[in-house]
Symmetry: C2
Subunit: 191 residues, 2 copies
């Protein structure tokens, strides 16, 4: 299934630092970088203010780059409870921004991203950054880590998208056949 | 500090069921119920769709009842990881709705709410529901549990608000004195 031209926004969610990227699928497995950056919100500010700033920033990115789909990291409980909760609140407003523009969202765990990019679900940061730099033909490694992670999420989705789209097409065809059968039996009853 | 007339929205956050309430502070410790309800989103729907529905619903409540402040449950890691994450995403969009209307948000842990309402941080659901029914002069106990919890959060904030406002007034006065001193020394330098 050809996905060339598909624009993917990758999001490494966070409240203090949120990595954002946009890439565009080319022919075959080639991918072109479009933009990458990090949105920061002041850790001393109120949660209300921080979520609002993050939401405004991601909405601006979506308006500027019109992504077709968003790939965002799936969270697990790990590390500091308060940080995980803040990140999960951030995911809420990031996903909402996509929902408000009817952009589908796919979630990937860090190990799924690592596996897709490097073939190894336990690849370290250095290996991942080197792979991303090479895949996107960048002249230097993306910094900071959140930016590189956002690019990795977007690339991961590009490479998974054909399989996801095939699955969705099969599911859709199956639903349509079921609906056809449903209509058929209703007509029989009516005879 | 008199808070009579203060309108508080209480939110028991959740994606499958989100309890919402509005109460209004009267004279002394009296509190009038204004509204209570539960917003549900279908568990089979996409996360994007669920967060959007929840956000739309809470925005409608805020537009209808114009609360001065929101009291929402502070989350901890507990129970099913996926449920906690979903609830934390929900908190993100609920807090964002308040932020977009410049409504301040206060968070309370379940034990803070229980302590404020019943004097016992470990009160059970039955005791809490009985207390809320009595405090608000309701003819019958609020149902379901999420609705009762949303009312308890709002009542908790009403009773904590005078102390919070006193603390904020002291902090504000302190900032103003500091600013005065700052201006004073700048003028001296200018002489």
């Amino acid at each position: 299934m050809d996905i060339s031209g598909l624009r993917v926004m990758g999001i490494d969610p966070g409240l203090t630092r949120c990595g954002l990227s946009v890439v565009q699928a080319g022919r075959g497995r080639s991918i072109l970088p479009v933009s990458v950056g990090v949105v920061r919100t002041p850790s001393g500010a109120e949660l209300t203010d921080r979520l609002k700033r993050l939401n405004v920033a991601v909405r601006e990115w979506m308006a500027d780059y019109s992504p077709d789909v968003v790939a965002i990291e799936r969270l697990f409980e790990r590390g500091n409870v308060s940080t995980v909760m803040h990140t999960a609140h951030a995911v809420g407003v990031l996903v909402l921004a996509a929902a408000d523009r009817d952009i589908p969202v796919h979630m990937y765990t860090p190990s799924e991203v690592k596996k897709a990019i490097s073939g190894n679900g336990r690849a370290d940061k250095k290996q991942m950054t080197a792979m991303i730099t090479r895949i996107l033909g960048l002249t230097e490694a993306p910094k900071p880590a959140d930016a590189a992670d956002a690019l990795a999420l977007a690339v991961c989705h590009c490479w998974r998208a054909p399989a996801i789209m095939r699955q969705e097409a099969v599911a859709q065809a199956s639903r349509e056949r079921a609906a056809q059968r449903g209509r058929g039996s209703t007509q029989l009853k009516g005879i």
